[in-house]
């Protein structure tokens, strides 16, 4: 087996094997488990880095075999795949580090980290999937492997959230499956291709294709938290903070959004979708979701719940971006896939830090936390400002590119949505920032814990700072060749100028 076929498989196996090893380890061997976790994460990062370099140079990494008659299991690393794979590889490492600290002294760690690794393996599979079938395979695997993480605490509330999660996502899965099967019956096994498949297709099929498109988007929209399919997301925030980070930034929500990107670009083809008028309704829906999530976030008192509604809003930026016909919109949507991940994971890390260190879960308990936990609060502030779109942070680059894309596509209303959403973002993030820095401590912290010299456990301390640094750098150095923006441009170029 050549290296080009081996690497995608290794990228998957690195966390799959980690999962198996972790499941096999006894509950009590914490050190070894941590070691395995970190080794796997670093290894995966190295593999993904190597592949990214290869893809940049034009190497074609792919492997496939027939799984069912007429259906292939296919892994293929194109530029888009590496965008998502890179995101999840980098953030997985950080989330693992964070989770090790977060779950210190809690039960069921073996189960947690096992499923955690499975979850990331699924995400990697989603990223590298070469056709819809393979995508679906990992998409459902992700659903299943996140359920134990959502209900990890085992409380009534967590189980309720888990139930909702599973109802929504399995329901979405069914709709998605229907769409995929139908498409397969119609057109056979379609590999993802930069230009799509339906250019110049027989016009008599247009009706069916439109229906299939609706099915696929609806199925994927559940995970992407699109209105009105978002109901599971705010509830799922009862999960431990690293899981929320994973759900919102790395895996689940992103898988949905990524799927939508794949369907629009690599199955239907942006040209075809545009000409069939499939994009505009989706753009409106995304726009509505953007505003809806923000408005709902305003009234949330629970910090993580507020962040969850913010995710609903932010992920639809990605969808809005991909529905804007034109390279700039594409770049904006794709780059937000990464940027939103980095910013949101920072926010969730920080929320977790407040919860673990001070026992603070509500926004109104955060008064004066900036003085007690400056590093965490700085990270939170930076990420919040990034979400609002303050330059030069990550969010600004997205907003600018999306806005320019919307204008280029003659969709001026989308710019209005972006601006309105920025204002709303400011309205629900800035009060938190204000409480952190400008209000005096109102009451003793609900449940304070101390760890030596640092403001919190070292495992919890560093990850948000690293992601904060990233969200500054990806914005500040956006035009450089190593930035997500450049990578998104590379994808757009390959898509629009095949």
């Amino acid at each position: 087996m050549s290296l080009t076929a081996l690497l995608p498989i290794l990228a998957l196996l690195s966390s799959l094997l980690a999962a198996v090893v972790i499941f096999a380890l006894p509950e009590s061997s914490h050190r070894l488990r941590t070691l395995v976790n970190l080794l796997a994460a670093v290894l995966k990062l190295a593999i993904v880095a190597a592949m990214t370099w290869g893809v940049f140079r034009g190497v074609d990494f792919s492997v496939s075999f027939t799984m069912l008659p007429g259906v292939n299991f296919m892994l293929r690393a194109d530029a888009l795949a590496m965008l998502f794979a890179g995101l999840s590889a980098v953030l997985w490492l950080l989330t693992t580090i964070y989770a090790v600290g977060y779950l210190e002294d809690s039960p069921n760690r073996s189960r947690f980290f096992g499923f955690f690794s499975l979850c990331v393996a699924s995400t990697m599979g989603i990223a590298l999937a070469g056709n819809l079938f393979t995508f679906f395979l990992f998409y459902e695997m992700l659903t299943l492997s996140t359920y134990p993480l959502v209900v990890h605490r085992g409380t009534e509330k967590a189980l309720q959230a888990g139930r909702n999660y599973i109802i929504y996502t399995l329901g979405g899965g069914v709709v998605l499956l229907l769409g995929i099967v139908w498409l397969h019956g119609l057109a056979g096994d379609l590999a993802f291709r930069e230009t799509g498949h339906f250019q110049g297709v027989d016009p008599s099929l247009h009706g069916q294709l439109t229906l299939i498109f609706v099915l696929l988007i609806a199925g994927l929209g559940v995970k992407a938290g699109m209105f009105p399919l978002h109901g599971w997301l705010p509830q799922a925030m009862v999960a431990p903070a690293p899981v929320s980070a994973l759900l919102h930034a790395v895996a689940v929500v992103k898988a949905g959004a990524f799927g939508i990107v794949r369907v629009i670009y690599d199955i239907f083809g942006i040209d075809f979708a545009y000409r069939q008028g499939l994009l505009e309704p989706l753009a409106w829906l995304a726009a509505f979701t953007i505003l809806y999530g923000s408005v709902r976030a305003l009234s949330q008192i629970d910090l993580k719940r507020r962040l969850a509604f913010s995710t609903i809003s932010q992920v639809s930026y990605i969808i809005l971006g991909v529905t804007l016909f034109g390279p700039l919109g594409t770049v904006g949507g794709l780059v937000h896939l990464l940027h939103q991940g980095i910013m949101k994971i920072t926010l969730f890390f920080c929320a977790g830090n407040y919860a673990e260190t001070l026992g603070v879960h509500r926004v109104d308990e955060l008064d004066g936390a900036g003085a007690r936990m400056p590093a965490t609060s700085i990270a939170f502030t930076a990420a919040a400002l990034g979400m609002i779109g303050v330059p030069p942070l990550a969010g600004f680059v997205t907003k600018w590119t999306l806005g320019a894309g919307a204008l280029a596509a003659q969709m001026e209303w989308a710019v209005l949505i972006l601006l309105l959403s920025s204002l709303l973002n400011a309205a629900y993030f800035l009060p938190i920032v204000y409480r952190l820095w400008f209000l005096p401590v109102a009451a003793p912290w609900p449940e304070e814990r101390r760890w030596g010299r640092l403001e919190t456990n070292a495992w919890l301390f560093w990850p948000p700072l690293v992601t904060m640094l990233m969200l500054v750098l990806v914005g500040l150095l956006a035009p450089t060749v190593v930035s997500p923006l450049s990578w998104a441009q590379l994808i757009a170029v390959r898509m629009y100028l095949p």
């Binding site: 027939t66 259906v71 073996s110």
Partner: protein, 487 residues
Amino acid sequence: MAGLLFTPLAWAALSLLLDFRRGRWLSWLGMLIQVLVSLSLWFAVATGGGFFYALAGWQAPLGIALRVDGLAVSFVLLTAAVATACGVHAGVYLDPSKSWQRYFWPLFWFLWAGLNGVWLGADLFNLYVGLELISLAAVGLVALGGEAAALRAALRYLFAALLGSLAYLLGVALLYGQFGTLSLTGIADVVGAAEPAAALALLLMLAGLALKTALFPLHGWLPPAHGIAKSPVSALLSGLVVKASFYIAARLWLELGDRLGSQLLAQGLGALGAAAVLWGSWRAFRQPYLKQVVAYSSVAQIGYLFLLFPLTYAVAEPVSRLAQQGITLQVISHALAKAAMFLAAGNLILSVRSKRVDALGGVSHFLPFSLFSFGLAGVSLMGMPPTGGFAAKWLLLQASLASGQWWWIAVLLLGGVLAAAYVFRIYRASFLEDSASDDFYHPPKTLEAIPMILALLALGLGLVAEPVLSVLALPFEVAAGVTVVQP
């Protein structure tokens, strides 16, 4: 070859002479041999193709003719795998101190012999004999549960089985009277369309087999029998026994259905199957006892099998092939997954010392391995990728779509959702952390390992579905061929 049929009988006879413990050693040895033989046969067919085999050189009408094709050997292998797993599990699980347990091994082996007889049988009467052997052994195994309720369930089972056999036998008699042969291919060669007597015979046989397979609404006997039996027995019954009668029904249909069947019959059977899927799943969701959940899940999963009838009747050849492949995968994956599930359920029950679902709180903490096996098996039942259940569902969906019978799509998808509902109900119960009791029993490692292996097999089936199907595909190519090998 013949060993596959007769050695189980020999083991049965031998073990009859021994008590449970010694019978166990003997049986474990026997299983090893059976597995090896089954494997080598499978490889032989996979590489060399299928063939007919006349026992002792006597040809079909008189002697026992065996039809050794890809499908049959695959089922033989499946039987070997599941039965061995259940046998090993039973050896550890069952309580040797109960005197009646010594009958377990003989019944177990009779069952195995009957199963192999059905898979390999080429004529209707031999199939009947195999079927009876299976039924009687299965009833006996259920009765081994020992309690009064078990006996009641066994009796009920027995009546159902006898009634089913009777109907089947009547059909066989009718066919024999008309065509003078019992060979399935023989009949298929001569039968023409619009022969009411033959059609009646087919109807009778299908009805009898449907009863034995526990097709809705004839499923009433199954949940009590499967629920009350000891876990390894339940696993055998749900995994293999009900499949035997379905296998015969499917063979009949594929050979004769195109001429003797009707669209009404096909759709009707499919509708019953659909009803079984929905009703069984719903009932499973409502059951308070863990094993009842699993048993009703069997009712639902069997329902899928009956989609074979509408999806192969009056459709294009490729569509029919898709449906057949899908159903075959469903049989195999359900056998593996359901066996795994019953065995894992047995472990969970042992561990929490209660049969109730709501007693499972906290078990994820103490028995993660068994719960994980249960979960993996559940994943296959739900038809989630990448399991065998998913592969089967995919093929059936394709077949429904291609044949234009879109209503089965709804059934398939809804069935998956309902399966998820009852499986996740179990997860939910076991993830609950605030359970008051933390008094758990840890079953031996063997008991935990076996369901895991089965569940992994069900999972892996999806990944290697293509090669497996290519072996399975042999019958439908070769059956009509003339590769008759004389010994």
